[in-house]
């Protein structure tokens, strides 16, 4: 059907792109993770020391666990906020569906930095929230644990990644044939029973997709913890950034990056399997 030249023309550029900009860098990173640093220089000396450091030194282990815990909370909150929103949008928004849909999308066009700084303004010691709390005499002194804490990071990341959760759930719900809901009512199921028996299981693939987005994106985030996390809100990506930067320990940075990569790829594979298992078409 198509000539060999045509096939080559359409397949070689993307393959070259992937090789040059993904596979080669990853391979380099993989090699770096087995090298070492001696007197401020990277030496090509094959060893497992970086991985040993990662597993034994508390600072790396704890930061990794904290990052996972922050990502898990962000995912949970984004689901709790996003699922009802998607459900309302798909089933009850009626004629205003498009308007509400745009309102969910619009924040995605606003720069990440702007939204992170907005939370800084809200949560700071002289911020909007503290001013209000004092104005209404709920507290006498500003609450300074709001900003520069894991709480601030979770809040900001939840705000930023909730649309990523809403959209796939909304898409999954839009694909639920409405006559299934009618059939369920017809067979005697109340709206609540219908929700749990029909809508919830059929929206599960969307939930998994949304949860995966939220978890993976927050796990790798480094701006929110840097701007709002303070010392107690540092995440694993901040450590990677500093290892590749000021600390100049590329091999250890590469080892950590590689571990996160493996973690994320296996998560994605698991999510894909679950989505396949729970989708029916």
């Amino acid at each position: 059907m198509f000539s060999r030249a045509y096939k080559a023309a359409v397949t070689i550029p993307p393959l070259a792109w992937v090789t040059l900009f993904l596979l080669v860098p990853y391979l380099l990173m993989f090699c770096y993770s087995f090298w070492a640093v001696a007197s401020g220089n990277v030496v090509h000396q094959w060893n497992l020391g970086n991985y040993q450091d990662l597993l034994t030194k508390d600072v790396y282990r704890q930061t990794l666990l904290r990052s996972l815990w922050i990502a898990a909370r962000v995912t949970a909150f984004a689901l709790l906020l996003g699922y009802p929103l998607a459900y309302f949008l798909s089933f009850y928004a009626g004629a205003r569906k498009d308007l509400f849909y745009q309102l969910v999308i619009i924040p995605l066009w606003v720069s990440y930095l702007v939204r992170a700084y907005a939370w800084k303004t809200i949560l700071g010691t002289d911020g909007v929230l503290n001013t209000l709390l004092q104005f209404f005499h709920i507290t006498q002194h500003p609450v300074d644990s709001l900003l520069y804490s894991p709480f601030a990071v979770v809040l900001t990341l939840t705000h930023i990644y909730t649309p990523f959760v809403v959209l796939p759930i909304y898409a999954a719900m839009e694909h639920i044939p409405r006559n299934l809901v009618e059939a369920s009512h017809d067979l005697g199921a109340s709206p609540i029973q219908t929700f749990w028996q029909v809508i919830f299981p059929l929206s599960a693939p969307g939930m998994i997709a949304g949860a995966t987005f939220a978890f993976v994106l927050s796990l790798g985030d480094f701006l929110a913890p840097q701007l709002l996390g303070g010392p107690s809100g540092i995440m694993i990506s901040n450590i990677v950034v500093s290892l590749f930067g000021a600390a100049y320990n590329w091999p250890l940075g590469a080892a950590i990056s590689f571990c996160i990569l493996v973690l994320v790829v296996s998560l994605l594979a698991l999510a894909e399997r679950l989505e396949k298992k729970w989708s029916y078409s």
Partner: protein, 348 residues
């Protein structure tokens, strides 16, 4: 004939569009009632009003001394077979059939027994563990039927359940469905746009047009005594003669015959099989001559179109060896009592 469901003056509007206008009819216990109509006649809306998916703008539904239209769909003793079956894709065939029983709090043991019986009834026992996407359209149709009937509804609503099947399977399912209805004894309200299907299956047919009930009658009666010109033309073929009545004499073109009808413009329906080759002259039949314009062979019968000198065109169903050829001149007749006076929007 005890009335099961009483539909009283039901009207439904979507915005300014009036979809149902003042529909009143009774569904009897155990009857097979077909609601027949073209698309846009309001037949599906009427079904959705009975099921509770739509709320009527005005009018009432009564079942056994209880007002049905005040209840939400999940509290009505009515089940529906949907046009595209609406089987739950995440549940097995068995769980689909058992859905209503599980929701209704029927015990596990009884649910299993009844589900198995329902699957056996529609010959789907072997597929109980499969998901709906793994079975054919005809099989899905049977499962949808079992899923509705297993709840022992007082009334089963069927929304064009056979329209997605191919012609052969469709004819087979018409017979099976009718047999099943007799067996379970549950009243069926069956929606279709196919008049042949309605004739084959129904105890009574309610014909809708533009949201209004044109006629409700048995298939035989609706065919032989159509109430309106629309009914006469929609059910089978007919020759619609628009003329007038004066002093007990009907006149249409050059044809006249005695009738018992009020004076004024009147339309008459004469079925093609009631027009035959004239035998002798001087009997009571209405006789006329015409030239064969077109002839179509239908197997047992053939349809011949004949044009008379005064421009009247007749469709004639002839049985046996068709001697008529295009161009032939034929002498034809019909009996006055076979010309059925029908209400006609154009004649009035």
């Amino acid at each position: 004939m005890t009335s099961l469901l009483s539909i009283r003056n039901i009207a439904k509007s979507f915005g300014k569009t009036r979809v149902l206008r003042d529909i009143s009819l009774e569904v009897a216990e155990g009857e097979f009632l077909t609601i027949l109509g073209e698309s846009g006649s309001g037949k599906t809306t009427l079904l959705r009003v009975i099921a509770g998916f739509e709320q009527a703008t005005s009018g009432e539904l009564w079942m056994g001394g209880e007002r049905l239209d005040a209840l939400p769909p999940y509290k009505r003793p009515v089940n529906t077979v949907f046009q595209h079956y609406a089987l739950f894709p995440h549940l097995t065939i068995g769980d689909n059939v058992g859905y209503g029983l599980r929701i209704g709090g029927v015990s596990k043991g009884e649910t299993t027994t009844r589900v198995n019986a329902a699957l056996a009834m529609v010959k789907m026992t072997a597929h109980a563990e499969k998901k709906p996407s793994k079975i054919s359209g005809g099989q899905q149709q049977r499962v949808a039927l079992a899923r509705a009937l297993v709840n022992r509804p007082k009334l089963l609503l069927l929304d064009e359940p056979l329209s997605a099947l191919d012609a052969n399977l469709r004819r087979q399912m018409q017979i099976e469905l009718k047999a099943l209805q007799r067996e379970v004894g549950i009243a069926f309200v069956f929606i279709t746009h196919d008049q042949e299907e309605a004739m084959v299956m129904s105890d009574r047919i309610a014909l809708l047009k533009g949201g209004r009930l044109e006629q409700i009658a048995t298939p035989r009666e609706i065919y032989s005594r159509p109430a309106t010109s629309y009914v006469a033309q929609f059910i089978g073929h007919t020759n619609l003669l628009r003329g007038s009545v004066a002093n007990g004499i009907a006149r249409c073109g050059s044809l006249t015959w005695p009738v018992q009808a009020a004076d004024g413009p009147t339309a008459f329906s004469v079925r093609p099989e009631n027009v035959r080759l004239a035998v002798g002259a001087g009997n009571a039949a209405v006789q006329f001559e015409g030239r064969v314009q077109h002839q179509a062979f239908h197997g047992a019968t053939e349809m011949v179109r004949v044009e008379c000198a005064d421009g009247l065109v007749f469709l004639i169903r002839m049985t046996g060896a068709g001697g008529a050829k295009v161009g032939d001149s034929l002498r034809l007749e019909f009996s006055p009592q076979e010309a059925v006076a029908v209400r006609d929007a154009e004649a009035a």
